[in-house]
Amino acid sequence: MTDLFQYVPGNSPLHRMNPVTKIVLTVSVCAAAFLTDNLLVLLFLLVFDFMIGITAGAARKAFSVFRGLFRVSVFLFILQTLFVRRGNRLFWIVTDEGLLTAAAVVLRLLVVCLPLTLVLTVTRVSDIAGALVQVLRVPYPYAFTLTTAIRFIPQFMEEMSGIMEAQTARGVEFDTRNPIKKLGMLLPLCAPLLISSVRRTGATATAAEVRGFYLRTWESGCRKYGFGPVDLAAALICAALIAGAVLIP
């Protein structure tokens, strides 16, 4: 799970794409998912996500995201089915509209989560910051904050699992199957995790400052983030996705 947000080096078209284009592509997929209620369009977007994953050489990661979201998806599906009371009743309190809405919500969740993970798989976090600053002229402190937050996610997950292992070694039953009991055991760990996170964030800020954080401008990066044919193709795909989501009823 900790490698979910890790960059995987490669030379696929997605690796070579400008980081800004990748962000635009991600946003476009998310926007298309929210603009449509058509299940077929949502299914197409999901397939499109997997195709991106395969193109990036990260098919396994795409499936692991899918697996990770499976339980949440089932929970959401059941919840939506029970709460949406419009439409024709099929059995018990379940209606046809409830089923369709639930399916749309679950598909939307999957469609949105996959590209966010994939963009981090094919892009160095520093390139995201670099491109945001250089191409979009985002002030560096904001880009740094964003990328540091992304970089810290796996670190905090590692830290949490470290704390859990330490607690397990001292007899705490984290391997219990009772989710409520597990949650009860996890909550007290939030405070030490938060404290260590704040401490680490402070130390990282100092580390950045002693290496010239405040001197960085949009011209500082030695990598140039140009646009090429692959970016043009991606832009056309983005436009097609949005248009499809809006125009297909």
Binding site: T2, D3, Q6, Y7, P9, R124, V125, S126, T148, R151, P154, Q155, R200, G202, A203, T204, A205, T206, A207, A208, E209, V210, R211, G212, F213, Y214, L215, R216, S220, G221, C222
Partner: protein, 279 residues
């Protein structure tokens, strides 16, 4: 040059001073090793030299620390870091980027190193620290020791006039520890870089450093050349510093035979002293 005058520092909320009336001068081009038991104030002293205290750490700061004539309390941390590079004890929090190459590039880009010089500096640092094959690896895939080397390389690439390292070999095996100290000596002798290394492995300091400062309960207990500091083994042991066996041997040899035995810092010197005294 580093000049510390009557420095006293107490962390916010602490009930005792971490440093008490510390006065120390480190001339340009020196290689100073700082040793002392846990809680003696070694990290605090390293942070005070790098300007992290008082800029990034809250507390009561008295006295003065001057680096190349600039008072660290009055100079911006960014400006200080052009003169002093600091390698932290907690390597995890020092690493900013997710890829090794980016980590080294970060400081080089920020400090505006000319682009045609960047590749040379990057390659030099990676090769000297022995992590050239890791250049394109993600930091998360590295071991603790490898991460420590990356942190050191990222500062070496910047080539500051003064390099302060807080336990730079804490997570390294004996071979890598020697490799890092060999590099520090190269930087010191060939590039004239002033090195201040806080280290628990006294054997390494004795072999590579020119001078030693022994800290005890926030004060400088002893300071001088390696041999000057090691000449009073008993005092060091009382402080809680493990002395090199060669120095212990020469001290015992002198005590038991009554002969005049110079302080030995390595096995070869100890063997030579034994031959001379015992015949």
């Amino acid at each position: 040059m580093i000049e510390i005058q009557s420095l006293t520092f107490r962390y916010e909320g602490a009930d005792r001073d971490a440093l008490r009336d510390v006065t120390l001068t480190v001339p340009d081009g020196a290689f100073l090793g700082i040793i002392g038991p846990a809680g003696a104030g070694k990290t605090t002293l390293a942070h005070a030299i790098g300007g992290i205290i008082p800029h990034a750490v809250r507390g009561d700061f008295y006295g003065a620390v001057r680096v190349n004539g600039s008072d660290t309390a009055e100079t911006r941390l960014t400006d200080l870091s052009r003169m002093v590079g600091t390698v932290f004890q907690d390597v995890e929090s020092q690493i900013i980027s997710s890829v090794v190459e980016d980590e080294l590039l970060y400081g080089l880009e920020n400090f505006g190193v000319p682009r045609d010089e960047i590749e040379e500096r990057l390659t030099f640092a990676l090769e000297q620290v022995g992590i050239a094959p890791l250049r394109h690896r993600t930091v998360s895939s590295l071991s603790g020791g490898q991460r420590q080397k990356v942190a050191i390389a990222s500062l070496v690439a910047l080539r500051p006039g003064i390099l302060v390292l807080d336990e730079p070999t804490g997570e390294l095996d004996p071979f890598s520890s020697r490799q890092v100290f060999s590099l520090l000596r190269t930087l010191n002798r060939e590039y004239g870089m002033t090195i201040v290394a806080v280290e628990q492995k006294i054997m390494l300091l004795c072999e590579f450093a020119d001078r030693l400062a022994v800290l005890s309960e926030g004060r400088i207990a002893r300071e001088g050349t390696v041999r000057q500091v090691l000449c009073d083994i008993r005092a060091l042991e009382e402080i809680g510093v493990n002395c090199p066996r060669a120095a212990l041997f020469s001290s015992l040899l002198a005590e038991k035979t009554g002969a005049e035995v110079p302080v030995c810092v390595n096995a070869e010197e100890a063997v030579e002293a034994a031959r001379r005294v015992l015949g």
